[in-house]
Subunit: 198 residues, 2 copies
């Protein structure tokens, strides 16, 4: 769709559609906004993209985004090397870190198994996870993938594989969220909380 | 919110929030997606932003986005110089052009009056519109701003000002959309279609 008398603008609208969740209308709205109201922001965003593409790589140990060969969490020698927590994304890892309740190391899958989208074990680097988990120091792997269908499937596959290799594998507890009233919690959650009661 | 061990990534997440409609969660999702699945797209988008910021400017006659001093529509001498159509955005202009029903010239406001957001006549360049409309050749100004509260207010203000200066001012017809059944059309639209019957 050509909306203006400028190939640079049309190119920008096409490029913005590479962002997830951005369609043709959003892309032109974004381009118009940047060029009309935030020319400086356009340049700031361009530089930020360029720099991130050039500098961000994956940690050799935990696979998270970092600019060094090994990230600062993996370099922190005060952590408990016997515990490895598996998460889907850096945002999930950040959420766990904010709790302050875990002092082991992480492995960031950067995705989840999703056969319907053609995402298999190779795409999320399970081989690297197994190598990391079997370094001899890790004794417990905590599966902290999301409690969605794909996250559960991913946890199941990883759990089975690591148990076969002799590791202790646990999963984050399912249950009633803190601060909630039972009347308003969905039945599946209450059922899980009942089964996993302690 | 720091989500990863990389200042370039954090900078990118902050920069993405300058896009309209993008909050903290969308911004990290976009950044993760680009860096994990579309490194090439990251560079493509960076270049597109850089180029658009450097090359896109406003047409001296109609105010639309263009890379030349005057846009190709304004340079098209076969158009009817007696008719000037006022629209809010280049996307609105593109929609009118696709109808093939208008062969005059345009003026693109690049916005609309919106007192609640502090957007007044100066912000949308009404002085330039008046200068353009009073070039001696234009005899009819067609107001094609949107049929929203702000679009209607903008049309009203422009219409009053240009009528005072002796120009003929018209507004796009309101009425029942092509292909629709009366039963499902909202009452305000039917009332307008009744008043404007021909």
């Amino acid at each position: 769709m050509t909306v203006a008398d400028s190939s640079a603008l049309d190119t920008l609208i096409v490029a913005l559609r590479r962002l997830p969740g951005v369609g043709a209308k959003s892309a032109s709205r974004m381009a118009f906004h940047l060029l009309q109201h935030d020319r400086e922001g356009t340049r700031v965003l361009a530089r930020a993209l360029e720099q991130a593409a050039a500098q961000v790589r994956h940690c050799e140990r935990c696979n998270t985004f970092t600019e060094a060969p090994v990230c600062s969490v993996c370099l922190d020698a005060r952590r408990d090397a016997s515990k490895l927590c598996v998460v889907e994304t850096p945002a999930d890892q950040a959420a766990l870190e904010r709790t302050g309740a875990f002092r082991g190391y992480y492995f960031v899958l950067m995705g989840k198994l999703s056969p319907l989208d053609g995402i298999g074990p190779k795409d999320i680097g399970l081989a690297r996870l197994f190598e990391r988990a079997l370094d001899g120091q890790v004794s417990e792997v905590i599966l902290a993938t999301n409690f969605t269908a794909e996250g559960e499937a991913t946890a199941h596959v990883i759990g089975e594989a690591l148990r076969q290799r002799g590791l202790s594998v646990t999963r984050l507890a399912r249950g009633v969220p803190a601060g909630s009233e039972l009347e308003y919690v969905d039945l599946g959650t209450i059922a899980h909380a009942l089964v996993d009661r302690r």
